[in-house]
């Protein structure tokens, strides 16, 4: 005998059929002209440094190890870094030269690092992008993708526990979001309302893997709802949009509002690394399409229109940048390789060893 189903009163709020769950870049006032200039200058600087490494030093066989650049993605690392305060902590990823140069790491040190020399921030003990200097708030990352995410959570917890108006931020490619540590770290930061910002550089590929083999959701920013934090989906090639978003999420984190995820849509305008040919797996039309959205060209066009800079400003900047790079490379090439005896130092604390990359260190 079949009876009609007994309806009990609802135990839980009915599934909400509508709810805003992801934000775009905040509108806000126009980006101040001085900031526009800084954005443009540091994107130019970033690209020139990357180019020198990839197109010249690497081809000359002078670079030790692999080469990964952020061509086409410069707006993200530069704009976020410009939105930070001096005592903030940053863990970049492997395409974030923009972070280092914008934060003020010396070009000499950067090139010394890429050439495996003694005066790189890793003193030759670790490889190219792994550059840390706590005096600049730069934390050296490791190769294991997304390991930075819980570390940044801890730094953000430290700031929050001490009520310091500082934040910790990390950058990861969209591929790195598949690692367990990405999840554990963001969830912890969310629960602890840590002063953190999580940037996703969604450049459409992880090595050869396209997004549809990496995740099945529409946008990674959607994951924010599952952590109970803000999620932003923005155009990562629009330096001003990135900067405005960066100001919003860093301010929020700095004032105790907790972490956010910012997914920046962009495109890797290179192979995975200098020795990878993307033509085997990236549809050829994508490069010219994304070339149209080049963050440097876009910002400079707007700035021309606004009369903030002109072609000459750019040419002068490039001349200046190239001169700086020439000099840094020359010095770096003259820097010795580390002494072989250094292979086994600094495994453990040793009070007789010099302090490096932290307060109290002298260069």
């Amino acid at each position: 005998m079949q009876t009609p189903d007994v309806k009990e009163k609802e135990e839980f709020p009915p599934p909400k059929s509508s709810r805003p769950f992801v934000k775009g870049a905040p509108d806000g006032p126009p980006v101040p002209p001085e900031v526009q200039k800084k954005l443009l200058y540091h994107m130019l600087l970033t690209r020139e440094v990357d180019d020198r490494i990839e197109k010249k030093l690497y081809r000359q066989g002078k670079i030790v190890g692999g080469v990964y650049t952020g061509r086409g993605q410069e707006a993200i690392s530069v704009a976020f870094t410009l939105a930070l305060e001096p005592r903030d902590y940053i863990i970049p990823s492997h395409r974030d030269m923009g972070v280092y140069v914008t934060r003020g790491m010396s070009l000499y040190k950067i090139f010394a690092q890429y050439l495996g020399r003694r005066d790189g921030p890793a003193r030759g003990k670790d490889g190219n992008m792994h550059m840390g200097d706590l005096r600049l708030g730069l934390v050296s990352f490791v190769s294991m993708l997304a390991d930075s995410v819980p570390i940044v959570a801890g730094a953000g917890m430290a700031f929050r526990f001490r009520k310091e108006p500082r934040i910790a931020i990390t950058f990861n490619g969209e591929g790195s979001t598949s690692r367990g540590d990405w999840h554990e770290g963001i969830n912890l930061a969310a629960v602890q309302k840590a002063n953190c910002v999580y940037v996703v550089n969604n450049n459409s590929y992880a090595y050869s893997t396209p997004n549809d083999a990496q995740y099945a959701c529409e946008n990674l920013a959607d994951r924010a709802i599952g952590y109970g934090i803000d999620g932003y989906l923005i155009d990562g090639n629009d330096a001003e949009a990135v900067w405005r978003t960066a100001m919003a999420v860093t301010t929020k984190a700095r004032t105790g509002g907790g972490p956010s995820i910012v997914e920046c849509k962009t495109f890797r305008m290179t192979g995975h690394s200098a020795h990878d040919d993307p033509s085997h797996y990236v549809p050829s039309e994508l490069f010219p399409q994304w070339e149209q959205k080049d963050p440097i060209a876009r910002l400079s066009t707007r700035m021309f229109e606004r009369g903030i800079v002109d072609e000459k400003w750019i040419a002068d900047s490039l001349t200046d940048i190239r001169a700086q790079i020439d000099k840094a490379v020359e010095l770096a090439e003259a820097c010795p390789f580390p002494d072989p005896s250094e292979a086994t130092t600094d495994v453990y604390y040793d009070p007789t060893r010099p302090i490096v990359n932290q307060e109290g260190a002298a260069d």
Partner: protein, 323 residues
């Protein structure tokens, strides 16, 4: 002064460090109000509050990662693994980041990862592990394995003050089974120094953790026929090769005893050092007594068969003297 347990000694040691240095902070699952699964952090939350005693989600990897991030900001974090077995989930952060940080860029990771290890409590394969060798084989880490209440307190304090990442293995069989009166004054036990627990002229017995008590039993049974010199390593990375070497040069015979499984255990490392550096002093084969190469079984009959026994030490000692 009343005698206190091994567990209480660890708790006291951490409490004292929390009081003397507000950079010390605890992270773990259920360690706050609840005081931890074994109550090693009992009372801390009330005294120090939620920013010093941090209850966390079930995220062993993130716990260690967060501790690293805090350590870069002047904190001295102590991370509890509810059972040390779950450290497998944090293996990457410990070995990839914490262990190599100072080497790579000069910024160390002064943190402690601690938790209950060891068998003999019917915990089965996932609540009885002795994973010390995974870390003793990782340069940049230190590995500490106290056997007494005095050492447990002195070593946890030393571990917290250490500038490098320290793995601290608390043998849960000892938690409430041993008691000792401890000094009132602040003290530490230096990491890397062994203790000569019982002098003896015939055989050097090197051990650590809960196995120390089997060594005592065996030494009692064998004396005066055979006099074991019992060395408690206390730390296995670095381990006190000097004390072991001096003893073996005197006794010319050595047994290494550990609860961890045989193949790849620290026993091999010590034996290798002796077979190289004390070769001419040796009058008999170097012997190892350890758990067999298997997971830790659950049923009492199996676990009993699995763990090293006093009788093993007695038998091997006699064999060695008869050699």
């Amino acid at each position: 002064m009343a005698a206190i347990t091994y567990l209480e000694a660890i708790r006291q040691g951490m409490f004292e460090e929390m009081r003397r240095d507000d950079r010390v902070v605890m992270l773990g699952e259920d360690i706050g109000k609840y005081g931890g699964a074994f109550k090693v952090t009992a009372g801390m939350f009330d005294e120090f509050g939620p920013t010093r005693v941090v209850d966390t989600p079930i995220s062993e990897s993130a716990l260690v990662g967060a501790a690293i991030g805090m350590s870069m900001n002047g904190y001295l974090p102590v991370v509890e693994m509810q059972f040390i077995d779950f450290i497998t989930c944090a293996f990457d952060q410990i070995t990839s980041y914490a262990a190599k940080s100072r080497y790579r860029w000069g910024v160390g990771a002064p943190l402690v990862v601690r938790g209950p290890c060891g068998g003999n409590v019917h915990g089965g394969p996932f609540h009885s592990a002795n994973p010390e060798m995974y870390f003793a084989h990782t340069p940049g880490l230190k590995v500490v394995t106290p056997a007494t209440a005095y050492d447990a307190k002195g070593l946890i304090k030393a571990a917290i003050r250490d500038q490098d990442p320290v793995l601290f293995f608390e043998h849960k069989f000892l938690y409430r089974r041993i008691k000792e009166e401890l000094p009132v004054d602040d003290y530490i036990v230096p990491i890397g120094k062994a203790a000569l627990r019982r002098p003896g002229k015939d055989i050097t017995l090197v051990t650590y953790g809960a196995m120390l008590y089997l060594a005592y039993e065996a030494a009692e049974q064998l004396s005066p026929e055979i006099e074991l010199e019992v060395i408690d390593l206390r730390s296995i990375l670095p381990f006190d090769i000097d004390m072991v070497m001096d003893s073996v040069k005197k006794t010319s015979r050595c047994i290494i005893l550990h609860e961890d499984t045989l193949t790849g255990g620290i026993g091999g490392e010590i034996a290798a050092r002796l077979a190289d550096e004390a070769f001419t002093y040796l009058e008999a084969p170097i012997k190892r007594i350890a758990s067999p190469d298997a997971p830790v079984p659950f049923a009492p009959t199996l676990e009993e068969a699995f763990l090293p026994k006093t009788a093993d030490i007695v038998r091997v000692s006699r064999e060695l003297m008869a050699f």
